[in-house]
């Protein structure tokens, strides 16, 4: 499991476009790679377990709680991927972008850092603290940087915001720079993930030492195994992080829709596509959250017909305009952002999702047992309805910024 030999396929998609460069920008031929994603056409399919815990009052708590929840669902994974997202963990660097990067060697470090410095000033950086574990053998070089965008970069890309520039930089690094992968790029949050059972990944990254008001977790059961750390969930972009259980049968068109909106999808994973769709719909198109969820998991036309006039016009317009964003196929998605999390299922509810509330806490997980492990007497507990999002929001005045 240490080294993965991959061959860049010489047939298949051949395109003279951005799409092509992103797929085939790397040189062909056989090579032995450690932790670089082999550029393959095999699409990733995720089985798995998801969980999320949010304190709506912004109270921060350690990583053991979420680890207990995800450990309870051990059998939903196969040990080939586990990961967490945590919000509120870097209060001292709250307004810097926290980049988590994995490198497969010193050359990658050099190339990656040089590229970052083109766009950002690095205020602080250090290896991500880890604990040596028998179970986690092969691993990449893990480093984190607290950065801000250079004024020169802003001037150079005057049509882009700071967020846009970070997105642009991260996507370029991930697509083009060999052996480098930025797996977290938000403010005052971080993604921690790798190849292993989630509870082992939690131990590896010493998550009990962090305090966050929002934790999400994921355990993976991939059928296309790459043994590649970057393939685990959550997928993060800015402060979006998405964990997902399911297989998107509309993936082919979602990806093309995103690519033409300027999001090169290089990972062949559903989670990447879901994350970018949220970024596009919510950040760029500024759709209200509920409207974005409606675009991703819309009501049936027969339901739309029965809606009152205003609602019907809205639903119809969203469906007509955002057909390329519709997610088809079974899924449970947990999307998190600094101000909260959303959990929702596909329209015909082909994957499980259970939610519960107690005091200011919101729990969402693939199984009820996972919730009861950390909260034995919730006030309310229910199963998500197909297509209807469960929204947890941080109460504004209590948002924890150190």
């Amino acid at each position: 499991m240490n080294a993965v030999t991959s061959q860049v396929p010489s047939d298949g998609i051949r395109e003279g476009t951005a799409e092509g460069i992103l797929f085939w920008g790397l040189s062909g031929g056989e090579r032995t790679v450690k932790h670089h994603k082999p550029v393959s056409d095999r699409k990733d399919i995720s089985g798995c377990a998801i969980a999320g815990i949010l304190s709506e009052s912004g109270r921060r708590f350690g990583g053991e709680t979420i680890t207990r929840a995800i450990r309870n669902m051990h059998d939903r994974s196969n040990g080939l991927g586990g990961g967490f997202a945590a919000y509120g963990i870097y209060p001292d660097h709250a307004d810097r972008y926290a980049l988590h990067v994995m490198y497969d060697g010193p050359e990658a470090v050099r190339a990656g850092e040089a590229f970052i410095r083109l766009h950002c000033e690095i205020h602080d950086d250090e290896p991500i603290p880890i604990r040596p574990l028998e179970k986690i053998r092969s691993r990449p070089n893990l480093h984190r940087y607290f950065v801000s965008v250079l004024d020169q970069a802003l001037a150079r890309h005057y049509e882009l915001t700071e967020d846009d520039i970070i997105v642009h930089m991260v996507m370029r690094i991930n697509a083009v720079i060999d052996g480098t992968f930025v797996f977290s790029s938000g403010r005052n949050m971080g993604v921690f993930k790798g190849v292993g059972f989630p509870e082992d990944i939690a131990e590896f990254f010493r998550l009990e030492e962090y305090e966050a008001y929002l934790w999400t977790a994921h355990g993976r059961f991939p059928t296309n195994t790459t043994g590649w750390w970057g393939g685990a969930h959550p997928f993060g972009l800015l402060d979006w992080s998405v964990v997902h259980n399911g297989e998107i049968s509309s993936y082919g068109i979602n990806r093309r829709y995103l690519m033409n909106a300027g999001y090169p999808c290089s990972l062949q994973t559903d989670t990447e596509v879901i994350t970018y769709l949220f970024d596009l719909l919510v950040r760029k198109h500024r759709l209200p959250l509920e409207a974005a969820c409606m675009a991703l998991a819309p009501p049936f036309w027969s339901q739309i017909e029965r809606m009152p006039e205003e609602q019907r016009k809205t639903a119809r317009a969203i469906r007509i305009v955002y057909g390329g964003a519709l997610l088809n196929g079974p899924f449970s998605v947990l999307a998190a952002r600094s101000d909260g999390m959303i959990g929702f299922n596909d329209r015909i509810k082909l994957r499980p999702m259970v939610a519960a509330r107690k005091d200011d806490m919101l729990y969402i997980a693939s199984e009820e047992a996972a919730i009861r492990t950390v909260c034995s007497d919730p006030e309310t507990l229910w199963h998500a309805e197909g297509g209807v999002p469960i929204v947890g929001r941080l109460r504004p005045k209590e948002k924890d910024v150190a």
Binding site: D11, Y257, A261, L287, E310, T314, A317, R347, I348
Partner: protein, 503 residues
């Protein structure tokens, strides 16, 4: 003068043990193949004029008639095929252009047959269309890139959508002009479109008065001849289509022989009786892309921007550039008609040698529009030899919003593809104006057959979608992940942007 070199195409075989001399075949053949000899009290057949339409065989109450290819065999030749020889004989005897009806019959392989679909297993359950909703509802028209909400009011939509055509399934009836087909055939297409909740295209022959009541389901064509185009025409429809070209004969205009121009056709097209209706090759007011823009907006102004305007182009080598230009010129829908597109009459050489197959054209145009970031500005409709629901699913997967069917609709009504539409002697009452022959197509039966066809295809499309784990057509549209190629070259796979089976 007998044309000595021209040999019969078919041989009529009559089983003497089964023939009851009822003379149904005699009465039904418009080509006078069968004759009753009262002295011998026998029905005899002269195969030389048989076109192979099967009318006699179908109606024969005892099944006594068989139609075979004429057994006059040439020595097999890989280059000088029998067909090539026959073409030269015809031209030598007549000095005329070879004419054919219907789409190209060339044996060059069909790319649809080299693409296969996906199905879900284990990781993604397939969906059962008999028990779960399966949505085929399709909207054709210009769409905005995003939707905007008003400040304050929750659910208040600020964006106004441009006019859209709403289709219950992604299949419409292609442009077949009244003139090239009979009144009954046109009526059946309009009625079936209404009953099924889709649209029929009037073709370039104008819209007969009687069909105004179907306006809500009609797409009217503005072709180079501008037949029947006046303000009433433009306002009695759901959408307008500027016909720049058609797949069967890219580069030349429509052709209706004078034999088929009777009083009703003359009134509808606004041309004299008995004259050939030859549409000019280009629109003489469209010599460049900006001229197209001018016409598109002229039509939009004339209809107060209440109807989508489509542009129909033939699939040729630079189809992507033309399509892109048309979208930027204001087209709300772009129709691409491929190499196998049908026609009532086309020069055989052009029909068989000009244009490219729809599969490649569609894939190229869809990719190009997406690359340019303008795919949402116009819907794509694919046409040209769509034969089955599987072809429809593959076309949608390649990127089409909907497809047009022409030949398939005619076949559903009884056409046997004898390819002699231009003679005006269609024995099935479809491609003719002869009152003896047009009676043969009962519009009630024809409508029923068309509705049945679409209903059957809708069921099959839903089954295939369900098998792929998809329950809304938006998720199939442009989703090339669900296609795999078999027996295609690397280049072809690359142009179609699909993977090979096994990948």
């Amino acid at each position: 003068m007998r044309k000595w070199l021209v040999e019969p195409d078919f041989l009529v075989e009559r089983d003497p043990d089964r023939c009851i001399q009822c003379q149904v075949c005699v009465r039904q053949c418009a080509n006078d193949v069968h004759e009753y000899d009262p002295d011998e009290e026998l029905v005899t057949s002269d195969s030389s004029t048989c076109v192979g339409c099967h009318r006699c065989a179908t109606l024969c109450p005892t099944g006594a008639v068989a139609i075979r290819r004429a057994p006059l065999e040439f020595r097999p030749h890989g280059n000088w095929t029998a067909e090539t020889l026959r073409n030269i004989y015809k031209q030598a005897e007549t000095g005329g252009m070879l004419l054919s009806g219907m789409g190209s019959d060339r044996r060059m392989g069909v790319t649809w047959d080299r693409m296969l679909l996906n199905a879900s297993q284990v990781t993604n359950p397939s969906i059962d269309p008999l028990r779960e909703p399966m949505e085929l509802l399709t909207h054709l028209g210009r769409k905005p890139e995003r939707v905007e909400f008003r400040e304050g009011a929750p659910g208040g939509l600020a964006t106004r959508l441009e006019p859209q055509l709403e289709l219950q399934l992604p299949v419409m009836f292609s442009a077949m002009s009244y003139g090239s087909i009979s009144y009954s055939a046109s009526l059946a297409l309009a009625r079936a479109a209404r009953e099924t909740g889709t649209f029929a295209n009037s073709g370039e022959g104008g819209l007969h008065e009687d069909f105004r009541r179907f306006a809500g389901n009609m797409i009217v064509q503005v072709a180079s001849g501008r037949f029947g185009v006046d303000v009433d025409y433009l306002n009695n429809c759901a959408a307008l289509e500027i016909k720049i070209g058609q797949g069967a004969k890219p580069g030349i205009g429509g052709h209706l022989p004078g034999e088929k121009v009777d009083a009703a056709i003359s009134a509808t097209r606004m041309i004299p009786r008995g004259t050939d209706a030859l549409s000019p090759a280009p629109h003489h007011d469209i010599y460049s892309i900006e001229d197209l823009r001018q016409l598109i907006f002229a039509l939009k102004e004339a209809t107060a921007y209440t109807k989508p305007v489509a542009v129909k182009i033939a699939a040729v080598h630079n189809v992507s550039a033309i399509a892109s230009g048309s979208v930027r010129a204001g087209a709300d829908i772009v129709v691409i008609d491929g190499y196998r597109g049908g026609t009532g009459a086309a020069p055989t050489m052009i029909r068989d040698n000009v244009g490219i197959p729809i599969e490649f054209a569609l894939a190229a145009v869809d990719s190009r529009l997406r690359e340019e970031g303008i795919r949402h500005q116009a819907s794509l409709v694919a046409a040209g030899g769509i034969r089955s629901s599987a072809d429809v699913v593959k076309a949608v997967a390649l990127g089409a919003d909907a497809v047009y069917i022409g030949t398939a609709a005619l076949v559903a009504m009884g056409c046997h593809l004898c390819q002699k539409c231009y003679t005006g002697k269609c024995n099935w009452g479809i491609a003719t104006q002869d009152p003896y022959l047009t009676k043969r197509l009962n519009p009630n039966i024809a409508t029923r057959r068309l509705v049945n066809l679409l209903r059957a295809w809708a069921l099959e499309i839903k089954e295939m979608m369900g098998g792929m784990g998809i329950n809304a057509i938006e998720s199939l549209r442009g989703n090339r992940e669900h296609l795999r190629g078999v027996g295609l070259t690397d280049r072809e796979l690359g142009i179609l942007r699909i993977k090979a089976a096994g990948e």
